[in-house]
């Protein structure tokens, strides 16, 4: 649901958004298209965010910026994620404005 709301927020800002309900579906999207930014939740069915980013960086070898959002992020986890190749990490709750600001920043980079 939050995914859908953020999608609406992004679309209202003029971004084109694809939504995947789990990591496996996300993998399929990346087979077909290129994206400017990937926003991930850590806790996902079938494939969690951690496995996805490992796959993205090590198997897919893509350098697409990745923003990870989760409520379960502490400092240790944050370092671990950054180590695996996350571009930025946001701890939930993330307000819409903060989220859009981060998105804007990551895409501009």
């Amino acid at each position: 649901m939050l995914r859908e709301l953020f999608s609406i927020g992004l679309e209202s800002e003029g971004y084109e958004v694809s939504q995947a309900s789990n990591g496996i579906e996300g993998q399929r999207f990346l087979e077909d298209e290129e994206y400017d930014l990937i926003v991930l939740d850590l806790l996902m069915p079938l494939m969690d965010g951690m496995h996805f980013i490992k796959w993205l960086r090590k198997e897919k070898m893509l350098q697409t910026p990745v923003l990870i959002m989760s409520a379960m992020i502490n400092e240790e986890m944050k370092n671990k994620l950054m180590g695996f190749g996350a571009t930025d990490v946001a701890c939930k709750p993330v307000g819409l404005e903060v989220f859009l600001k981060k998105v804007r920043g990551l895409i501009t980079e």
Partner: protein, 885 residues
């Protein structure tokens, strides 16, 4: 009746008195009398007033000269009177002249004018010194001669005439009949033979002033008289009998009898005293008292007879005492029966009230609920409950679903024939090969199940099921049998209820059928059966409690203990059922006995819960907590007023609690709470984001609408989640341990693999894990899941060869998580594995039996367990669990 016992006692006393007065008890009373007369100790024997001269059995052959000589000898010693019990063949003028009065006993028939009387020659002897008197054989009572008639044909009889002649007749002036005093025994009368009397055997001490009675003692020619006392022949002669009568008259010691008024007063007094005494005694004491009282009656009667020459009517007294005892016994029995009825009635009502309300039996609606429940649980096509009708051999419909009694062939409604008899014989469900219910639109397998309760067939349950609906028929039939037990109980209660209704509506018919009154046996059986089932259920509940629990009565005896407690006490060599609560407390806590006693008193009298640390080394844990708390009396089920318990509590509950379990539970709950908070935060964030979006002016109408819907959905979901969370948080330890609860599946798997690490290493099995870093919480009973995973591990280890791998992977999707446990062992053909899981249970190893149980558990949590195998490749288990967050 309130005063029934008193009225009956009065009636008994009056009846016995009436019997005594009317002579109804003469024979048995006489028997008692004879026995007491014959018992004689060292009594002082009074001097006899009589001398008996035995003429032998043929006095007629004695010569007249010898008679004259005898009379002359007697005359010298001045006897008071010479009396003959026969008519002597001599002239007594001389004797009369010598101043010795005489009397001749004459049989009444000899006075007849037609009779050639031998007295004719004695007419002139009717002088002041010579008389005749009537003498006849006395009358007996029951063949025993105890009484003498003093008058014969309204004339003074022989004995009375003698008494009158010697001036002692006025002693018994008004007495017609007297009870002869035989107290001094058969040898009391001095007897001298005629020969001895003739040869100087007569001395003045024997004769002077005595009545000399001359007659035959040997009585060979006539039957003797049976009296309370007798000589060797067993009887006395008429002469001796008259001798005793004369002695009784002259001593004035005839046996007196208690006046009728005194007898009734005595009986009534004894009845009153006995009734009071018996009421205060136990039955054993009452029997003993009765025995003692009867013995006392005998002693008193004997003393009265021998010292006061008074006969106490022993039989009525003895009978009265025995009948009073029986009366008290009966009344106590009635009291006990009434109390039992009361208890059974109360217990029965209570049990029935707790089983099902009365309207359940009466209403078809409730039976429809039962039918629906059974139908839904077993996925049946048609079903019908039939009840047995008393006095009829045909079954009657109670309730049915998608069929009716008419669906059953008319010829197959007789429960004394097949298929009913076959089902009864088998005692469980039978598959029907011949058509029982009329054909149905779909293929079906028909079943018939006997419904029996307390060993009695109460009805039948017929149903049909799709032939391929249940793969494991054995399991299905086992479940059907379990259902049938429950249905039978309900049906039985219905039949009892119907019988009660019928009884209350047709009381007259019950009397005509001799079925009036309560059928106590049936009530006892019914109540006990119901209570047994309830007790069994409670024991099962207690048995399934996680904590070690034992229930003691207030006196410290074990009432019940659960398996955990039995196991624990067994581990520590404690005989739980042979130990009192005090012993158990002392053994567990090593507390001094006196202190332990005080502690228990505190629990009982102050109704306080106490807790003590308990060290159980063998358990591998340091300290447990022993909690003792009073189990209070339920105010709504107060015990009978006279119940013999001084306590306000019903028992003591001992619980041994493992604090580490609390910590485990707290951990599970805390984990759940943590996830819950995150989820709620996430939900709140979504709502806030949605609200922020709504305030944006860049959104299209569609986006606006969609955002609104998402917010509403989110709010609804959050609310549902909170309600669900309430159910998970507000539960006790038992619920957490025994119900499916959000658990950390990865943590459980890791714990198991860690515990069995050594075993896996020894077998050189490599464990390869593929777990997500984050996983939603799964729904399962943690102990059952642990047992299942251990069982799976057992199977995999057994199947593994050297250097096998064991792959553990966990993945998740929305609302579910999947665990795959794949071994690269020897494996087996898949058909064989499926046979182990679904085939005949008796052919399966314990491991696979446990696995089957595990599959049932997983299903009950809403999950699924699948297994597959390939020969040479290993076995794979796939476990699906529902998940939250």
């Amino acid at each position: 009746m309130k005063y029934g016992a008193i009225i009956l006692a009065l009636f008994i006393a009056l009846f016995l008195w009436g019997g005594e007065v009317t002579g109804l008890f003469d024979a048995p009373n006489g028997w008692f009398y004879d026995r007491l007369v014959s018992v004689s100790f060292s009594e002082e024997v009074p001097k006899s007033n009589i001398l008996v001269v035995d003429t032998g059995h043929a006095p007629e052959v004695i010569r007249p000269s010898d008679w004259e000589k005898l009379l002359s000898e007697l005359g010298k010693h001045k006897p008071a009177l010479v009396a003959f019990t026969f008519v002597p063949p001599l002239d007594l003028k001389q004797s009369a002249k010598e101043g010795v009065p005489y009397l001749i006993g004459v049989a009444p028939e000899l006075q007849s004018p037609d009779y050639h009387s031998p007295l004719n020659g004695y007419d002139e002897l009717s002088t002041p010194r010579g008389h005749t008197s009537l003498l006849s054989r006395p009358k007996s009572k029951g063949g025993i001669y105890r009484f003498a008639d003093l008058y014969i044909n309204n004339q003074p009889g022989f004995s009375l005439a003698i008494a009158q002649m010697i001036g002692r007749g006025d002693m018994v002036a008004d007495v017609q009949r007297l009870r002869i005093n035989f107290n001094h025994g058969a040898d009391w009368l001095p007897v001298v033979s005629f020969q001895r009397a003739m040869t100087g055997g007569l001395i003045p001490e024997l004769v002077q002033d005595r009545v000399v009675l001359i007659g035959s003692v040997t009585h060979l020619n006539s039957p003797g008289l049976a009296t309370p006392v007798s000589r060797d022949s067993g009887t006395l002669s008429l002469t001796e009998f008259e001798g005793y009568t004369i002695e009784t008259l002259l001593h004035g010691n005839a046996i007196k009898e208690l006046p009728a008024i005194l007898i009734i007063l005595l009986l009534l007094s004894l009845s009153a005293v006995s009734l009071i005494a018996y009421q205060r005694m136990t039955m054993t004491m009452a029997w003993r008292l009765t025995f003692i009282v009867i013995l006392i009656f005998h002693i008193v009667a004997w003393v009265q007879l021998h010292w006061a020459t008074m006969w106490l009517p022993l039989l009525p007294l003895v009978l009265n005492q025995i009948l009073l005892l029986l009366l008290v016994v009966r009344y106590r029995q009635i009291g006990s029966e009434e109390a039992l009825h009361h208890v059974l009635s109360d217990a029965g009502s209570w049990v029935r009230g707790h089983l099902m309300p009365e309207d359940f039996y009466a209403s078809d609606q409730h039976w429809a609920q039962v039918a629906n429940l059974v139908d839904q649980s077993l996925d049946l096509q048609r079903l019908i409950f039939l009840e047995r009708i008393e006095g009829d051999h045909r079954v009657r419909e109670v309730n049915s679903l998608r069929c009716s009694i008419d669906t059953i062939d008319e010829r197959r409604r007789d429960y004394e024939r097949t298929p009913y008899s076959t089902a009864i014989e088998k005692g469980g469900p039978i598959r029907l090969s011949k058509q029982y219910l009329e054909p149905f639109s779909e293929p079906e397998q028909q079943y018939l199940v006997p419904l029996s309760y307390a060993g009695e067939i109460v009805g039948f349950w017929a149903f049909s099921v799709a032939p391929d609906r249940h793969d494991n028929l054995e399991e299905f039939e086992s479940v059907v049998k379990d259902f049938s037990v429950q249905i039978a109980e309900i049906l039985y209660h219905r039949s009892v209820w119907q019988a009660e209704q019928a009884a209350s509506s047709k009381p007259l018919m019950r009397y005509l059928d001799f079925r009036a009154g309560d059928d106590l046996n049936q009530r006892v059986i019914w109540t006990l059966n119901s209570l047994e089932r309830r007790w069994g259920m409670l024991e099962q509940v207690l048995g399934e409690l996680v904590t070690c629990t034992a229930l003691y009565d207030p006196f410290g005896s074990v009432l019940s203990a659960n398996k955990s407690m039995e196991q624990l006490s067994g581990n520590y060599d404690m005989s739980l059922y042979e130990m009192s609560a005090l012993d158990f407390l002392v053994k567990l806590t090593n507390m001094p006995v006196e202190l332990a006693r005080n502690m228990l008193s505190t629990v009982i009298f102050q109704k306080k819960e106490l807790q003590f640390p308990v060290s159980l080394e063998k358990e591998g844990k340091n300290t447990f907590l022993l909690s003792i708390r009073p189990v209070g009396r339920d105010e709504t089920h107060k015990l009978a007023v006279d119940e013999a318990t001084p306590f306000d509590i019903r028992g003591l509950l001992f619980e041994i609690i493992d604090p580490s379990e609390f910590s485990e539970i707290a951990g599970i709950k805390s984990q759940y709470m943590e996830r819950l908070l995150l989820q709620l935060r996430n939900d709140m964030e979504a709502v806030m984001t949605g609200v922020q979006l709504l305030s944006s002016d860049r959104m299209s109408v569609d986006q606006h609408q969609r955002t609104m819907e998402i917010i509403l959905d989110k709010v609804k979901n959050t609310n549902t989640r909170l309600i669900e969370a309430e159910g998970y948080i507000d539960v006790g330890m038992n619920e957490v341990m025994r119900s499916s609860y959000p658990i950390d599946t990865i943590s459980i798997v890791n714990t198991i693999l860690s515990r069995r690490g050594d075993e896996l290493n020894q077998k050189k099995i490599e464990v390869v894990k593929s777990f997500p870093d984050l996983l939603q919480l799964g729904l399962a009973k943690s102990d059952n899941l642990t047992a299942l995973l251990n069982n799976i591990l057992d199977i995999q280890i057994e199947d593994a060869g050297p250097d096998s791998q064991l792959y553990f992977s966990i993945t998740s999707e929305e609302g579910a998580q999947y665990m795959k446990i794949r071994g690269t062992g020897f494996g087996m053909p898949d058909e064989e594995l499926q046979r182990f899981l679904k085939g005949d249970v008796s052919m399966v190893s314990e491991q696979f039996k446990r696995l089957r149980k595990g599959i049932e558990h997983v299903s009950s949590w809403g999950g699924e367990l699948k297994m597959s195998s390939e020969l040479g490749k290993g076995i794979t288990f796939e476990l699906k669990l529902r998940s939250v967050f």
